[in-house]
Subunit: 244 residues, 2 copies
Amino acid sequence: MRRTAAGRVLAVLDAFGPRHRALSLSEISRRAGLTLPTAHRLVRELVGWGALERGEDGRYSVGLRLLELSALAPRGLELREIAFPYLEDLHQITKGNVHLGVRDGLEVVYVEALRARVRNPVTSRVGDRWPMHATGTGLVLLAHAERDLQEQVLCSPLERFTPLTVVDPGQLRRKLAQVRQTGVAVARGLITLPDLVVAVPVPGPDGEVAAAISVVVEAAQAQPRQLAALLTQASRSIARAMSA
Amino acid sequence: MRRTAAGRVLAVLDAFGPRHRALSLSEISRRAGLTLPTAHRLVRELVGWGALERGEDGRYSVGLRLLELSALAPRGLELREIAFPYLEDLHQITKGNVHLGVRDGLEVVYVEALRARVRNPVTSRVGDRWPMHATGTGLVLLAHAERDLQEQVLCSPLERFTPLTVVDPGQLRRKLAQVRQTGVAVARGLITLPDLVVAVPVPGPDGEVAAAISVVVEAAQAQPRQLAALLTQASRSIARAMSA
């Protein structure tokens, strides 16, 4: 495959990931499928611009210019900033993990993730990307997505994270119908068994579903109805703030 | 000036900024100094990759792939995640704006910015970049930076935001010495007059200053000593969490 010049730049950035936060030049070259001289030249340009930075050990990692740029994403930190006060309230009141997710392609990306002080087994982070069937916010976003996109997900292999992850297309279809009917997704143990998640949609200015918010707590102590009420209230506040 | 292929890709990204969050193709072409066909080709590649996304009005903005990538920056969202619980406590207790800043070149970049519920005139955001002499976190970072870098800042034009912004090099030099001596930066009205900021350094694993944290409150109600004590405590907790 012949890559474009832009493609080679993006391949250098793609070399970095959650399990590859700091890379040597030769690791970048190998992971990006570029010759060492090409990788060297591109890395130098990216360091000059601020997309990458070089640590004292000579390894490269993602630089602050990308944070600055990503802060401009309307569905990213801008949305996060509007929603933050309400998410913080939810965090304080429920003591759970609080997530703000938006759909990107066939996945959900967390734009905010406030972690319970008592560390849960799942420690989701801003920028995390999950398949939609496996998270509360994802189920809400999938339930309200266009029919074509739903079918695309239902026809794709559904990854199993625990015995409770819904991986049967028929069962998932029924689950989505239920989320649309009730306005709330409640699910247990999708990614880690002891967790229960409650999630609701956040409507955008045109009535479409712009995002989803969720609270994850230990199933043993969960009060799903109360969580749903709190989330619904927060969702309304966020929607109001977004349209202001 | 002849630009490299990578330079042209980065020029497209550089076209976006806080006052240019959504751009048409011709605006991108003009701001990036590229012909329309080149801009079109690069934008298409960047949209395919997820660095940009196209809104319903046909304008482009920054996409979620950059948020995902920026979440990998060790001095960005990773630091923010470690510091967050302590910043949240500061936010709850002081009711002020809370900032976590790191130095990038001659400037300070906010990695976290929790805004007081009562909206202050300055509404700083994650990803914001300020000259160091004009913010509390910046003063702390500058005071603890290498001598060469301090001189570079002291010799450069110091932008004035209010009558109280310290723009005289001699006065700034004395201010920095004071920050080093006391371990705290206290300053009034640097960017907007009614504000008072208190900031302290956050030591990294090797004893160097890795970041700075600050609280901004209305000067009329400020209790700088109490704020300094709370900040120092939070800084120690963050340093401990970073080294864990």
